[in-house]
């Protein structure tokens, strides 16, 4: 019984010789390279995404600044007196009293009215 057990122990420890034989895998290198490329791609995508996330507040800030400055500039241009296009157009018209024009259209010229009165 003891001898049998001793043989079993010896065979178990001797099994290391068989257990240490690893079958050769010719595709190991290809699989490793494929995994590395995949991981590098994922890392780069992750880095790009994190860069966008980090820059997001800065980009939003810049956009707001541009919008506010643009609005302020436009407001200044429109409200400055020397640069009002509508006013300059009106100033080109002859200065005539509106009531005079109406009177002229309804009743003819001032001289005609004098004659009529006479």
């Amino acid at each position: 019984m003891d001898q049998e057990k001793e043989n079993k122990i010896r065979r178990t420890l001797g099994f290391i010789e068989k257990d240490r034989v690893i079958p050769d895998d010719p595709w190991f290198y290809s699989r490793l390279m494929a995994r590395m490329e995949r991981e590098i791609g994922e890392t780069q995508r992750g880095m790009a995404a994190s860069l966008v996330m980090r820059l997001k507040p800065v980009l939003v800030g810049i956009a707001l600044l541009v919008a506010v400055s643009g609005g302020t500039w436009l407001g200044k241009v429109i409200s400055s007196p020397g640069q009002q296009p509508e006013i300059s157009l009106l100033s080109g018209l002859p200065e005539t009293d509106a009531t005079t024009i109406l009177f002229q259209e309804v009743s003819g010229s001032f001289d005609e009215q004098i004659l009529l009165m006479k």
């Binding site: 122990i9 178990t12 420890l13 099994f15 240490r20 690893i22 050769d24 895998d25 290198y29 490793l32």
Partner: protein
């Protein structure tokens, strides 16, 4: 190509150097991982992790020890971390005895059954060893490394390696003795 030239090639992302590194050390790495995790698929996945780690951190190799010693150290660390992760989720596969595994199949007969039994007993016995004894034992018996290189891998003295292997053998015999008593 010397170790330093090979490492320099890896740092420079030279395809030929990377291929040579993998082809030269593939068996060594897979076997080291397998001797600790006892599962070939896991060992191959871990071996991939080991090579990726080597390629990433080739710059930290100082050349004081052999390149293979540095690779062994990475392989051992990765395997132990894997076992830790497995232990937190579940016990390693080899520790559990699956009764179906010990049933004779129709093709192999008794010889195959005995082989399976020996394999399970061996793996269970190795798993029962304290970590340092397990590393020293597997590096010596699976990798056939001399004590000096084991000391380099484990960064311990030569005397410690001798002691660890001696105690590992004694513990294995003791455990197997009890195992076959049942």
């Amino acid at each position: 190509m010397t170790d330093q030239e090979l490492v320099q090639g890896i740092i420079n992302r030279d395809q030929a150097a990377c291929k040579q590194l993998v082809q030269t050390h593939q068996q060594l790495v897979i076997r080291t991982c397998y001797s600790l995790v006892h599962n070939l698929e896991d060992a191959e996945d871990l071996a991939q992790d080991v090579f990726i780690e080597i390629m990433r951190s080739a710059g930290s190799f100082r050349g004081k020890a052999k390149l293979s010693s540095w690779i062994y150290r990475i392989a051992v660390n990765k395997s132990l971390n894997h076992l830790k992760r497995m232990n937190t989720r579940d016990k390693p596969e080899s520790v559990k005895i699956n009764p179906v595994e010990l049933e004779p199949d129709h093709h192999g007969g008794d010889a195959l059954l005995e082989e399976k039994e020996l394999k399970i007993a061996l793996h269970r016995a190795i798993d029962r060893l304290p970590v340092n004894q397990r590393i020293a034992f597997t590096l010596h018996y699976y990798e056939e490394l001399p004590y000096k290189q084991i000391a380099e891998v484990m960064t311990v003295s030569l005397y410690s390696v001798e002691s660890l292997i001696h105690r590992a053998k004694r513990n294995l015999r003791k455990w197997l003795d009890r195992y076959y008593d049942k």
